[in-house]
């Protein structure tokens, strides 16, 4: 049997295949453009590998079903777009509060509301971070190629299992529907959910007793085994019983944040291109990172020192990487298909207060390399001919 093969496919297909390669065996979702192909592929592929697909009555039910399935021991995922993500927010909090792994694919489209249903956007960055009420940490990854759709989906499951947390994969309409070759390889070194030590006696089990473990992640057995446990979306104690004590609430809410931020070195993924001597840094992600890469190449052709910092992890935010990238630069440009959601984060780690220039589009069309360079030309690189465009 081949351990890898090359396929020519759209991002949404690579995401579905990535989920299967990661070991996902349960999908629940509700159709929505531009994510629906993921559901279609999951409905065809999951039964082939002994998994279950179900189309639920709405996105609220979809995320609830994957959380339930995950508690019963199956790696689970759903795919949706902005309107669906909005509906999922309350139950996303259940996954946070009960520390239940699951993966939410958000193929972003233009909002707010129904918005431009078929057009790309990158406007859900802050929704992913703060959409559900209450403080918590979250992981969000953003692919910018079909290959990354596959690879980062696998990563999303790994992080989800390792840290007992919901994880977003933040694709966008361009990446989801774009076709490129990608290598479909067997996922190596998959993270499987930590189980209680076999010496642990059966019966009542404290599924939230994270302090007992060095990594602050409590093992999570499935329903139906020798351990009996209580999942709880209300504030709870170590055993999952409702608990209103203030010291207990403080401990758990800080834990939800800390288990992500303290592991940021493991979770944060970025890629640097031509950053060694870059005077001007393009910080971008998703489909806009592709335009940033093209802009960098054009500028380099004209001898201008432009580099790219591509963010594959959006949350926890790559603060150290951004700070390092801005350290020697004269200016940073943040192309993104929203009105500055990542630029505002970049500004927080801009220690020398260099100019951070936003290149923003919210009209449902991609940012072009020309637009990015035009922003630089207007302020700094006045000699840029942009003949290559």
């Amino acid at each position: 049997m081949n351990t890898w093969e090359i396929r020519f496919a759209m991002g949404n297909e690579a995401i579905a295949e990535g989920a299967l390669a990661a070991g996902a065996r349960f999908y629940a979702g509700y159709p929505i453009t531009p994510s629906s192909e993921i559901a279609e592929i999951a409905s065809r592929r999951l039964p082939q590998v002994g998994g279950v697909f179900i189309q639920m009555e709405d996105e609220i039910a979809s995320i609830a079903a994957i959380i339930g399935a995950s508690a019963a021991g199956k790696k689970s995922f759903t795919a949706t777009s902005g309107p669906g993500v909005s509906l999922m927010q309350e139950n996303l909090g259940v996954a946070v509060m009960s520390e239940i792994p699951c993966v939410i694919i958000d193929v972003q489209r233009s909002g707010p509301s129904t918005g431009l249903a078929t057009k790309p956007a990158q406007g859900d960055v802050m929704q992913a971070r703060w959409g559900t009420h209450g403080d918590h940490g979250i992981i969000a990854l953003a692919p910018s190629s079909v290959q990354e759709c596959y690879d980062l989906t696998i990563k999303a499951f790994d992080f989800s299992e390792k840290y007992r947390t919901p994880v977003y994969l933040m694709a966008d309409e361009v990446i989801g529907h774009m076709r490129e070759p990608y290598v479909l390889h067997e996922a190596a070194g998959l993270v499987s959910r930590k189980q209680p030590d076999p010496s642990e006696p059966g019966g009542d089990y404290k599924i939230f007793d994270f302090e007992r473990y060095d990594d602050h992640i409590a093992p999570m057995p499935p329903y139906g085994g020798k351990y009996i446990f209580r999942m709880n979306g209300s504030m709870h104690d170590e055993a999952g019983f409702g608990c209103g004590a203030s010291d207990n609430a403080d401990k758990f809410i800080r834990h939800y944040e800390d288990k992500i931020t303290k592991n940021r070195d493991d979770i944060v993924m970025t890629e640097s291109y031509n950053m060694e001597d870059a005077d001007y840094v393009l910080v971008s992600f998703g489909c806009s990172a592709r335009s940033a890469m093209a802009a960098m190449r054009l500028a380099r052709q004209e001898g201008e020192k432009v580099g790219v910092l591509k963010l594959m992890t959006l949350w926890p935010f790559p603060d150290k990487e951004v700070a390092a990238a801005l350290k020697k630069a004269k200016a940073a440009v943040v192309p993104e298909m929203n009105l500055g959601q990542v630029a505002s984060e970049v500004s927080r780690y801009n220690e020398r207060k260099i100019p951070v220039i936003g290149v923003n589009r919210v009209d449902g069309s991609m940012i072009t390399p020309y637009q990015i360079l035009d922003a630089l030309k207007g302020l700094y690189l006045k000699g840029l001919s942009l003949k290559g465009l």
């Binding site: 065996r25 349960f26 629940a28 592929r45 039964p47 082939q48 590998v49 002994g50 279950v52 179900i54 639920m56 009555e57 709405d58 609220i60 039910a61 979809s62 609830a64 079903a65 994957i66 959380i67 339930g68 399935a69 995950s70 508690a71 019963a72 021991g73 199956k74 689970s76 309350e90 139950n91 909090g93 259940v94 059966g202 019966g203 009542d204 499935p222 329903y223 139906g224 085994g225 020798k226 009996i228 446990f229 209580r230 999942m231 709880n232 979306g233 209300s234 999952g240 019983f241 409702g242």
Partner: protein, 275 residues
């Protein structure tokens, strides 16, 4: 296991108000567990949010206490992921058929193999006695101070037209009868539904001039008619009455079994191996 062995005695007294019927329904559930012969390990109680949603914290079985109105959706995922589990869902009237009405009709329609026990106390007890989708017309609640003007759902009829496999209705004081319905519901493959009319003594009772629990229990009893008696009554006589008893029992393959059978029949797993 004996029924009282399912109860976490160390957590009693219950969370509920004096005279509230939920303790009776909890008692019925444990008696049904005994009758059905379930174990703590192979049973998951999925609860909603509301007074009744607290029932899981007094029982020793596995629990999933999620969000208001979504218990059936969580339960659907649990059951489909592990068909060996007995998944019992505790719903309230606000939780189960008001905010969660959409999940309710679809769980019935799909015929997911769950046992749902809905306690209907005609109002939102936990938030202070506001009206729900089952509050009877003309009732006083904290948000219908001049009398309620919306008609209430007949939840069992809703379950019937939505496709539930087994439907029964009881009143909470009939503890052993309710236990029999729940046990029978658990024995059925598919979506089984037991509605239990329960008195909210603190809000619904007091708001409607029934100061002490026994008055409310007597009123509740006056609103129900056993199925056998109802069969001989006219439509006029049955107005504003709820029929109690086993109301519906029909065959039909549950979703999970059908899903697996279809895949096997069509050789889909083998097909994948050939690919």
């Amino acid at each position: 296991m004996k029924h009282n062995e399912f109860i976490r005695e160390d957590r009693l007294p219950t969370f509920w108000c004096g005279g509230c019927g939920y303790g009776q329904v909890m008692n019925s559930i444990t008696r049904a567990f005994e009758k059905a012969g379930v174990t703590l390990n192979d049973t998951v109680l999925v609860s909603g949010i509301g007074c009744w949603g607290h029932v899981d914290s007094f029982l020793k079985v596995n629990a999933f206490h999620g969000t208001h109105g979504r218990a059936l959706a969580f339960a659907t995922g649990i059951k489909l992921a592990n068909p060996e589990l007995n998944v019992v869902v505790a719903l309230g009237d606000g939780d189960g058929v008001t905010i969660g009405g959409n999940h309710f009709i679809h769980a019935c329609r799909r015929n997911i193999d769950l046992t749902a026990i809905l306690c209907n106390n005609y109002n939102y007890g936990m938030t202070g006695g506001q009206y729900s989708s089952t509050t009877p017309e003309h009732s006083i609640t904290s948000t219908s101070p001049y009398g309620h003007i919306e008609p209430g759902f007949d939840i069992c009829k809703l379950a019937e037209v939505s496709g539930a496999r087994y439907i029964a209705r009881s009143i909470s004081e009939n503890v052993t009868q309710t236990a029999e319905y729940i046990a029978e519901a658990m024995s059925k493959k598919g979506f089984s539904f037991v509605e239990v009319l329960t008195p909210c003594t603190t809000h619904y009772g007091r708001n409607n001039a029934m100061k002490h629990p026994p008055e409310l229990y007597r009123w509740l009893k006056s609103t129900v008619v056993p199925a056998a008696a109802a069969a001989k009554m006219t439509e006029d006589q049955l107005r504003n009455k709820f029929i109690i008893g086993k109301l519906y029992d029909r065959p039909g393959q549950d979703y999970g079994t059908r899903y697996r059978d279809e895949i096997q029949a069509k050789g889909i797993e083998d097909l994948a191996k050939k690919e």
